[in-house]
């Protein structure tokens, strides 16, 4: 059990630090995982140099999807948009510190997919954003 539900995941799921809305914001994007109905919306505030100054997420879903969103936002504040574009799936897996099968991988990567689609200004998010 400890493998999949490490304390850090349960903690971020139960007491997320970055859940909520950010008004006004500069970037917003939302997407769902059609298989399980996980839903994540992310809002970012960006300064004139392209540095992320604040971030929030909202949505619903399993502990992995929600905790990974919280951990991800914590990790990007202070980063530039260009740096965020470089983030890959390993970044999220390192934050979670667990190994995941193919089904739960989609839950874990939803927030990164949403974040990158927003930062790139895309019309829709697809899995190529979070390929290895």
């Amino acid at each position: 059990m400890d493998d999949l539900y490490r304390e850090i995941i349960i903690e971020h799921y139960k007491n997320p630090r970055y859940r909520g809305k950010l008004e006004p914001h500069d970037i917003a994007f939302a997407d769902s995982n059609p298989l399980c109905g996980d839903h994540i919306e992310i809002q970012l505030r960006v300064d004139p140099e392209g540095r992320i100054t604040d971030a929030r997420f909202d949505g619903h879903g399993c502990a992995i999807s929600q905790a990974s969103a919280d951990l991800l936002l914590e990790s990007i504040i202070g980063k530039t948009l260009d740096e965020v574009k470089q983030l890959n799936r390993q970044h999220v897996l390192d934050l979670l510190g667990i190994e995941l099968g193919p089904v739960r991988m989609k839950c874990a990567l939803l927030s990164l997919k949403v974040l990158k689609a927003g930062v790139y200004g895309l019309g829709s998010a697809d899995d190529s954003l979070v390929e290895e």
Partner: protein, 408 residues
């Protein structure tokens, strides 16, 4: 012979395995697919080891044996659902393909713009999307029978919708989420009175209780081999003979033709005109063995075992604080229990249960409109079959308490 679940379990090799060292498998996901008894595995293995050949066209010994076994299986399946003739058993890949076959071949030939199709809010996506596609193509109108809060079809609303004279009514015999067993016989009679033909989705009924197509007077029945102890890749469409005969072919190719000339063809007779190309021969033979197996144990006995388990499961689960069950009371439903736990996502329930070797499903179970009706994105679902035991339900309940402890 009295029903003995422990002896039944001996027939299913996979039930003896551990998921991880020291953690026995508790398989509660038979609604998605059933496990397979060795009788089925051995029938398929014997076919490949001894008689493997393509069917119908060959005259050599192996081709004769393969054809005979393939057609014998069809005859057994026909007997199993009390079809008047084996010719009314069309082999498909699964329930989904059987429904698509009707939508494609019957629907395109006989429905015209403005015609109505009546569906229900509890359907599996496979009994929705084929009709949505057809409706888009042909300009049809779709109506839906609503659900009551306790998970039954609203039969008063059903009768009202029938007065709009739908051409086709398609509904599930048993819900794969709520477990609701619909009063098919009465519903079919009412549909016929209104001038509609009826397709019954038997994916969850044919595996779990006796289904008699003549008593039901149903026009089409679709079901899947893999949910009734058979292999994947084989399913069935039963149809009334005059309907099957009037329908144009489905896929084109070998076996579905009587003759092919340059620029024209003569379709084969029923059921072959719907079975283009080399079919799933070993799988059909495996399904024949599955039907034998179920009959030998007895569908009444299987249904009684599942009724008892379901009543026990509902009683145990109702005790769990914060657990909400979907669907009807015991006695009104089959062996499926879908539930939610306050504040815990179904995925997390399923994941923690897996840690204890317990296999349940989490999600919308291909019935998203049903979940929207109840205002929830997903449920966890445990389902039972002839090999499920009370001890496994006890383990499920213990596991749920562990889930609550972890997230509490």
């Amino acid at each position: 012979m009295p029903f003995d679940v422990l002896r039944v379990r001996q027939d299913f090799p996979v039930l003896g395995r551990e998921v991880r060292p020291g953690v026995a498998l508790v398989y509660l996901d038979s609604t998605a697919t059933s496990q397979k008894p060795r009788q089925v595995l051995e029938a398929m293995d014997a076919f490949y080891r001894r008689s493997n050949a393509n069917i119908h066209r060959g005259v050599h010994t192996l081709a004769e044996e393969a054809t005979a076994q393939y057609e014998e299986a069809r005859a057994r399946i026909a007997r199993f659902i009390h079809a008047p003739s084996p010719r009314q058993i069309v082999y498909t890949r699964n329930t989904t393909e059987a429904i698509n076959l009707v939508a494609y071949a019957w629907g395109r030939a006989f429905l015209k713009p403005g015609d109505r199709i009546l569906l229900t809010e509890m359907e599996h996506h496979s009994n929705l999307v084929p009709w949505y596609l057809l409706a888009q193509e042909r300009g049809l109108t779709l109506d839906f029978v609503p659900l009551t809060d306790d998970g039954h079809l609203d039969l008063e609303a059903y009768r009202q919708r029938l007065s709009d004279a739908p051409r086709l009514v398609a509904f599930t015999h048993m819900s794969n989420v709520l477990g609701t067993i619909n009063p098919a016989r009465e519903m079919i009679a009412q549909a016929h009175q209104a001038g509609a033909i009826v397709l019954l989705d038997g994916a969850q009924s044919v595996p779990h209780f006796p289904v008699n197509v003549q008593e039901l007077d149903v026009d089409f029945l679709a079901f899947s081999g893999h949910k009734m102890c058979g292999p994947t890749g084989i399913g069935v469409l039963y149809g009334k003979m005059h309907l099957l005969e009037a329908m144009p072919p489905f896929l084109g190719g070998g076996d579905m033709i009587k003759a092919v000339h340059l620029g024209s063809f003569v379709p084969n007779e029923v059921p072959y005109k719907f079975e283009a190309g080399t079919p799933a021969i070993a799988e059909a033979i495996g399904l024949g063995a599955a039907v034998d197996y179920l009959e030998q144990i007895g569908m009444e006995a299987i249904a009684a075992h599942e009724r008892e388990l379901t009543a026990y499961a509902l009683e145990r689960l109702e005790e769990v604080p914060g657990l909400h069950l979907l669907g009807p009371q015991a006695g009104e439903k089959g062996g499926v229990v879908a539930f939610t736990l306050d504040g815990i996502h179904p995925h997390d329930i399923a994941q923690v249960l897996d840690h204890y070797g317990i296999a349940v499903r989490a999600g919308h179970h291909c019935a998203q409109p049903l979940h929207e009706r109840f205002g929830i994105p997903a449920t966890a679902r445990a389902s039972f079959y002839l090999y499920t035991t009370r001890e496994e339900i006890d383990k499920l309940v213990e596991g749920i308490y562990q889930v609550k402890k972890l997230f509490g």
